[in-house]
């Protein structure tokens, strides 16, 4: 009898813990959430996304993202919310602005420069 009871409890444990941590109204929102936490860096970590981190602040941000998705905010609005608080460094894909233009332009311009120099030299 006791053995059977234990077995029932053991088997039902799976269902008891099968509840998901973050709740979404539809699959689309859930996909958006998992994409967002891969694109945003955990502000407490040297380099790790929110998805990879369980630091208290990452947990808070993740819950906040869930809340913002529920409120119907778009991805860019959510990113803006987090950048306003934690700075540009939290985005893995920084936009093109006066702080980052050099990073975007330098590799291409150096390559072009190298190529033109290379072809120039041959003609001389």
């Amino acid at each position: 009898m006791i053995k059977k009871l234990c077995l029932v409890i053991l088997l039902s444990c799976n269902f008891l813990f099968a509840d998901s941590l973050y709740e979404f109204t539809n699959l689309e929102n859930e996909k958006r959430f998992y994409n967002l936490i891969k694109e945003i860096r955990c502000p407490k970590c040297t380099s790790g996304s929110l998805a990879s981190s369980n630091a208290p602040v990452s947990e808070d941000i993740k819950l906040k993202i869930v809340e913002l998705i529920k409120e119907g905010k778009s991805d860019s609005e959510i990113k803006k919310y987090i950048v306003n608080r934690f700075g540009n460094e939290v985005l893995y894909d920084p936009g093109f602005d006066k702080g980052t233009y050099f990073l975007w332009i330098a590799p291409i311009s150096i390559l072009l420069l190298a190529l033109t120099t290379f072809f120039f030299r041959r003609k001389i």
Binding site: K44, P56, V57, N84, R85, F86, G87, T117, F120
Partner: protein, 174 residues
């Protein structure tokens, strides 16, 4: 043509070195410090001792906001300096971050209270809204606008390097 190319070999390294020299010596950058100005977020929380509601209108003027918790070891290190600041008549508001109320009160009774008032932010909602990543963090706020946000322990050196220039610029605490 050859002359131009040869000059280029000299100019390019000089340009790169000077660029990085200027980049590294950028005065606006200080590790842990954030000088972006923004408005203090709206909040409605409770005071730690009296547990009476507290919101933006209860804290006016120029003051520091210090985020601390009894579980935070660096806050203990920082505490002595905050007491010194409060003795110099610099108002400090505390945000008790994700802390048990009894633990927080015990901590204050043990080590002294440099705070004008302490906001009990048990869930860390206000702290998240202010961009707090952990404790301790310190903000310089004037008339509802955040002027400096420093992540980490504030000591004499940080006070001199990060906070004093801004205080002098805006002529605060006078």
């Amino acid at each position: 043509m050859k002359f131009i190319l040869r000059m280029f070999v000299i100019i390019l390294p000089i340009a790169l070195i000077s660029f990085f020299y200027l980049y590294i010596n950028d005065d606006d950058y200080y590790p842990g410090a954030d000088y972006r100005n923004y408005n203090l977020p709206q909040f409605e929380l409770n005071e730690l001792y009296s547990q009476s509601p507290i919101s933006n209108k209860d804290i006016q003027g120029t003051y520091l906001i210090n985020v601390w918790a009894s579980w935070c070891i660096t806050c203990r290190v920082e505490h002595g300096f905050l007491v010194k600041l409060s003795n110099k008549n610099i108002p400090i508001m505390g945000i008790n971050y994700k802390d048990d109320r009894d633990d927080a009160i015990n901590w204050i009774n043990k080590f002294g209270d440099p705070y004008k008032l302490i906001i009990h932010d048990f869930k860390g909602s206000l702290a998240l809204d202010m961009g707090v990543t952990g404790a301790p963090e310190t903000f310089l706020v004037s008339n509802g606008e955040v002027l400096v946000h420093y992540r980490g322990e504030v000591n004499t050196m940080i006070w001199q390097d990060v906070f004093t220039p801004v205080i002098n610029k805006y002529e605060l605490f006078k």
